[in-house]
């Protein structure tokens, strides 16, 4: 059950270049949250900016909700100014999350796509499930958390084993994250039960193509401009293969890649 509440800001810290970690006191949402789901967050109480912003749930800690966000435009700029103690309107958890039941899934994150996938990794870890994890970045500088990462890019946010790839080679493998993924898929015998991906659209397209090629199930987390977040406005249309559209907030944000019309997106 989703709920709406005014959540107190516990902390709102920079953790990278224009990247912040927001901690909200929102027990009812935190308790219900599943990886891949998101919340809608009003960055200011006034009429401008008018709409709430969607953010993936990055994790929960006790009754606290973690959101990892990048400053993009005026909403996130304002959000970066939210002071501990202030209150923000938030509702959720919303949408369909990742299905974590597959055998040894492969997690593929690109850039801010790490936000929901770190939560997925945490949950997999908790239940002792085996998984592979891949994390692609433009450069080491793109994410300060990499500073605390060992030379081969093996550690990130606690101790899960993320295989890094960077476009400039400054950390992990030199290249796109789809390259280590392809290597992994090419390994005989131990195919991932599913690929769980979140990141920029070109990455998602490449991952979906790769999974189709290797006939591996692929769950992609998609973005669309959203107004309501609850399935009412029909603003968040994602073209579907059958013609017509799926709602990113309701049938998604995590959608089976085979349902999405990648050519129209």
């Amino acid at each position: 059950m989703s709920i709406s509440l005014k959540a107190k800001v516990m902390s709102n810290q920079p953790v990278g270049p224009e990247i912040f970690l927001l901690t909200l006191e929102a027990p009812a949402i935190a308790d219900a949250a599943r990886p891949g789901q998101f919340v809608m967050l009003r960055v200011s109480p006034g009429p401008d900016p008018l709409l709430a912003r969607p953010f993936s749930i990055h994790g929960v800690e006790g009754g606290k909700l973690l959101i990892l966000y990048q400053v993009k435009g005026k909403g996130t700029k304002l959000l970066a100014q939210a002071r501990p103690g202030s209150e923000l309107l938030v509702w959720g958890p919303l949408g369909r999350g990742f299905d974590l039941a597959a055998e040894r899934p492969a997690l593929v994150a690109g850039g801010m796509g790490i936000a929901p996938l770190a939560f997925a990794a945490e949950r997999l870890e908790e239940r002792g499930a085996a998984f592979d994890a891949f994390y692609g970045l433009a450069s080491k500088e793109a994410f300060i958390a990499w500073d605390s990462v060992s030379g081969d890019g093996a550690f990130f946010l606690e101790d899960w084993g993320w295989n890094g790839a960077s476009e400039d080679g400054s950390v992990g493998l030199h290249g796109l994250v789809t390259e280590p993924l392809r290597t992994r898929l090419e390994q005989d015998g131990e195919r991932p039960g599913a690929v769980l991906a979140c990141g920029p659209l070109p990455m998602l397209k490449a991952v979906a193509l790769l999974c189709a090629e290797f006939e591996v199930a692929c769950q992609t987390s998609l973005e669309a401009p959203m107004a309501c977040g609850v399935g009412a406005c029909l603003g968040c249309a994602i073209p579907s293969v059958g013609g017509g559209y799926l709602r990113a907030c309701q049938e998604g944000p995590v959608m089976d890649a085979s349902l999405v019309d990648w050519k129209k997106i």
Binding site: P47, L89, P225, C228, V230, A232, C233, L234, A237
Partner: protein
């Protein structure tokens, strides 16, 4: 604290426990918002526009934020009449509060057919004819810009609605709304709802492309409240003079109880909350509560507040 005010209103042939309805297209088929509202918190809801056949709607992007407002070009995406009757109306009928079904046809005949089918449903309290959608090629706004067309569509729907009250949702994109409202009233509408969205546009200066795939869309939200208030005031005045039994349902940018009160003061008998629900899923219920508190403070009933502007 002042004693509670009587919030019940009888508007457009429908009795409402309080004058706050959720607006068409912004509240889905009701269920989407049920986690966020106490049952009975609002007077009722207006459904997303229903057409005879399902419609997939416009390609994305369909929405974009603007200063104190938003544009939408959904393109009347909806599940279609059969699915609505089979899977949306049954749940809705069980809820407290009135069910107003917004409907949209591409021809007079389609409006009539929709009115006939929906008029027969006991779970439906009133029909709201959308003759004002700016985001579709056929029908829609074209109907809403000519008094003759408004009258024709309304008369056809009224004739088929089997006594069910018919409301007409008017577009603000006209030189003078009063003739449209009078035409609707003349043809048997029991209320007019105004305003729908203002036809508008947004451009991305980086790409030099329209921000909406549909190029133009409808502007809603607080930005348009002053326009909506003016139109409600003008139309309420015109109807009072010529069709005093026909009500105005006011909307456009209502974000708070005092916004709702302003619409009532201007001459609306009830209001609808649209875009506000996107900014706060509890908005419609909150606004109804705030309006009740306002009425208590002013020591007026909702019915007395309606049209109480002092000039």
């Amino acid at each position: 604290m002042s004693p509670a005010a009587n919030m019940a209103v009888f508007v457009g042939g429908v009795r409402l426990a309080n004058p706050v309805l959720a607006a068409s297209g912004t509240f889905g088929y009701g269920r989407e918002y049920s986690p966020y509202l106490e049952p009975g918190a609002i007077g009722g809801l207006v459904t997303k526009g229903v057409s005879l056949e399902p419609r997939v709607g416009n390609p994305p992007p369909r929405i974009v934020e603007t200063a104190c407002g938003m544009l939408n070009a959904i393109g009347l995406a909806n599940v279609g009449l059969e699915e609505f009757l089979a899977h949306k109306l049954p749940w809705l009928s069980e809820q407290p509060g009135a069910v107003v079904v917004n409907l949209y046809g591409e021809s007079v005949a389609e409006f009539a057919e929709l009115a006939r089918r929906l008029g027969a449903e006991p779970g439906v309290d009133a029909l709201e004819l959308n003759v004002s959608c700016p985001n579709v090629k056929e029908g829609g706004m074209a109907f809403g810009c000519h008094p003759g067309a408004v009258g024709e569509v309304t008369a056809a729907a009224v004739a088929e609605a089997q006594g069910k009250p018919v409301w007409v949702k008017l577009t603000p994109n006209v030189t003078d709304l009063a003739p449209m409202a009078l035409a609707a009233a003349q043809a048997g509408a029991q209320a007019v709802s105004l305003i729908n969205t203002l036809l508008a546009m947004a451009i991305d200066p980086k790409t030099r492309r329209p921000k909406l795939a549909n190029v133009v869309g409808g502007l809603s939200g607080p930005a348009i409240k002053p326009v909506g208030l003016r139109m409600v005031w003008q139309v309420a005045g015109a109807l009072k003079a010529e069709h005093p039994g026909v009500d105005v349902v006011g909307l456009g940018g209502i974000m708070s109880g005092t916004d709702a009160a302003e619409y009532l003061i201007a001459g609306a008998k009830a209001v609808q909350v649209g875009t506000a629900s996107f900014t706060d899923p509890t908005a419609a219920g909150r606004i109804a509560a705030e309006l009740a508190a306002y009425c208590a403070g002013q020591e007026v009933s909702a019915a007395e507040l309606a049209g109480s502007l002092r000039i």
